[in-house]
Structure formats: structure tokens, C-alpha cells
Symmetry: C2
Subunit: 217 residues, 2 copies
């Protein structure tokens, strides 16, 4: 398998954690989202990924795109270690929490959006920062409330990581990067801490990637 | 089952189509996204739906939120009529196309975002209209490209509707509403036309809902 990835992309980070938890070796192909005006926009890359975004997972000549589609495919084809519970209501809860992040937070903090606000709307950096804090804060509050549930364990759902945790940990990284205090959400902060105790989450982290630009952080 | 819905919500529309295709009867509870400052923000509703958005599907005392989580739950618990193909690569393609809409278009056209641009950023309506056309146009182009694939049939994937079509038809409705010409995307336009020939898509349409405000269109 070949993963087209960018070290700081939340969506790529989700897939990297899944590959690590399932013990699947892969080749990492960095796609630089800033350099050259964004390498994800090249015609060659867009043949693999019509949205012009990371990640893409190439497998047997097929290019899979959209992180949630890739995660579900990994779950269906590599069921061990499972990242969804067995019961349908539990699966709906895990996917619901994941989508609170994937649909309601990440799209609004995406680099394509902040580029638009800077280049088309001519927003000052403080205006974009307020936008980011607004959407991330609203979304983190929604996740924190969703976690106020007996089904929450030491992870978002029960006592082992699921797709919800795979989305939550990258969101915590992005939240912090954009100035939102994760500690203000104690359930989220506790789960993030427990995830980051696991080596599978740590090898997937942005700073552990071959394309990490540590000086840029 | 009880569906908390709003006639013009893309996300609720997706679930209404799935319920119709699977022949599942349900009670529709309208949640007005504009009136009273948005009924989805009420504390009572947010106990069901932590994100404060529609839809919510209530089933056996459980409240399921996020349209994609609800659709996957329906697929797992009511496998007939199937809305995902049987093969994992096909399932990944269907989910990938669906998420091109769910993650990359809909969040940027959402009423919460256009309200923010109007109320916080003080954008003129033409500025918001340009924003909407930008993101919808980019997203529709990505879907159109994804459909340039031998796996596309009379529907997004093969010759029967899948989750991708359930996301595409509501997006076409929203695209048109926000001034984007669907006919500029001929593969999308053809699939939309074939979907809307099916009564299950038509009963789920915004104008067929009990809370439709036809004069407002």
C-alpha cells in the first residue's frame, strides 16, 4: 500500500493511525500542501484524487480517496485490530462522533478555506484566527457533549480505540495549532492523553513523519 | 422511527431518501433551522443531537446523529434495498464520492456558515454568493471527475442507487438554490435526472415535506 500524505493533514493522520493499529506496512508519499502552490492540485495527483486533497491510499492499482472511505475499507478488509464496535448502535455512535469532526470541524479549518479567506476575502490573520477558534470551539464542545455518555470508556467508545479516537487525536493537534485550548474539554483531553500513550498513535503523529518540518512548527 | 428533519437540509434529505428506498415508515418531526434563531440550538434538541444540527434519527430510545452515521446504521440493520455494493473497492468508491459532498461541499454551504459570514464577518450577500459558488463549483467538479470512471453506470456506481446518489441529489438541489448550474456537470445532471424519475427520491424531496414553505423558494 502507498499512502499519499502530508505530515500536518488531519485526514492523513487519521489513516496513519489506522494503518499503525492494524499493523499494515505502507510506503509514505509526501504531498506538500503549501509548496508549489499546493502539490495536491497537480493534474497527476488529481487523477488519483479528484478532490485534490490528501490522503489517497493506493492499493493494487486502485486509488482510494476521502479518509472516512479509506478507514471503512481498511476495517472491512483488515478486520483486526477492529476499529468499530460489533453492535450497530455502537457503530452509529462511533461514526457519529467521527463525523462531528470530519464534517463539522475539519472542513472549516482546512488550508483551502484559510487560503480563500486570505487571498479572496483579504482577511487579516486575526480575522481568520477568530473564524478558526469559532468553528473548532463549537465542534469540540459538541464532541465533549457527545462523550458525556455511559458508552464512553477510557476511549471515545469503550476501552479500545475506534474510528472516533482516530479522528479526535488529529483534531486535538489541529485545535492546539489554531489556538484552541484542548484542556477546556476534559473528556476529550483525557482520551487524547490515553491515545498518545500508545505507540501506534505516536508513530502516526505529524512530527514523526518523513516530511515533518519541525522548524516550521 | 422518528426523524428530526428540515425540508431544505441536504443532510436530512439524504436520510429521507434512504428511508424511502428501504421502505421504512417514520414520523417526521420538523426542526426549523431559521425560526426562533434556529430551533436546532434549543437545549432540548441538543440533548438528542450534540452538534445542534439536523437530522437526528430516534430509534428505540436512542438518538442517532450525523447523516452518514445514520445511513450506515440503516444499511447495517435494514440491508434491503442495499445502498452499498458488495465488494470492498466498490464500497470505498461509493463512500469516497459521498464524502466528497459530505465533507468538502456541504459544510461550506451550511446555514451556520452563511450566518457567520453575514453576522460576524458582515459580508454582503454577493460576497457570500461568491463563496458558495466557489466551494460548490469546486466540489461539483471533483464529483464530476470521480464519475469519469468505468464503474459509473446509470447511477454513481452501477445501475442502482447507492449512498453516493443519496448525497448527490440533495447537493444538486442545494447547488441550484445557490446559483450553480448543475447542467454544467453532465454526468451529475444525468444521474440526478434518473434518480428523480424514482418515486422514492421524489417523496423525499424538500417540496414534498410537511414543513415545506413553498412560497419561500
Amino acid at each position: 500500500m502507498r499512502l499519499y500524505s502530508y505530515w500536518r493533514s488531519s485526514a492523513a493522520y487519521r489513516v496513519r493511525i489506522a494503518l499503525a493499529l492494524k499493523g499494515i506496512p505502507y510506503e509514505c508519499v509526501p504531498v506538500h500542501l503549501v509548496r508549489d502552490g499546493g502539490q495536491q492540485h497537480s493534474p497527476e495527483y488529481k487523477r488519483l484524487n479528484p478532490g485534490g486533497r490528501v490522503p489517497t491510499l493506493e492499493v493494487g492499482g486502485q486509488a482510494l480517496y476521502q479518509s472516512m472511505a479509506i478507514l471503512e475499507w481498511l476495517e472491512e478488509t483488515h478486520p483486526l485490530v477492529p476499529l468499530l464496535p460489533a453492535d450497530p448502535i455502537g457503530r452509529a455512535r462511533v461514526r457519529g462522533i467521527a463525523q462531528l469532526i470530519v464534517s463539522d470541524i475539519q472542513p472549516l479549518q482546512n488550508i483551502s478555506v484559510t487560503n480563500y479567506l486570505r487571498d479572496e476575502a483579504h482577511w487579516a490573520s486575526e480575522q481568520t484566527a477568530a473564524w478558526l477558534r469559532h468553528w473548532i470551539g463549537r465542534g469540540m464542545a459538541a464532541v465533549e457533549q457527545a462523550l458525556d455518555d455511559p458508552a464512553t470508556g477510557s476511549f471515545c467508545h469503550g476501552d479500545s480505540p475506534t474510528l472516533a479516537d482516530l479522528c479526535l487525536v488529529p483534531q486535538c493537534y489541529a485545535s492546539r495549532r489554531f489556538g484552541v485550548d484542548v484542556a477546556a474539554y476534559p473528556r476529550i483531553a483525557g482520551i487524547e492523553r490515553r491515545c498518545l500513550e500508545m505507540p501506534e498513535f505516536r508513530v502516526a503523529a505529524p512530527e514523526a513523519q518523513p516530511d515533518a518540518e519541525v522548524a516550521a512548527r
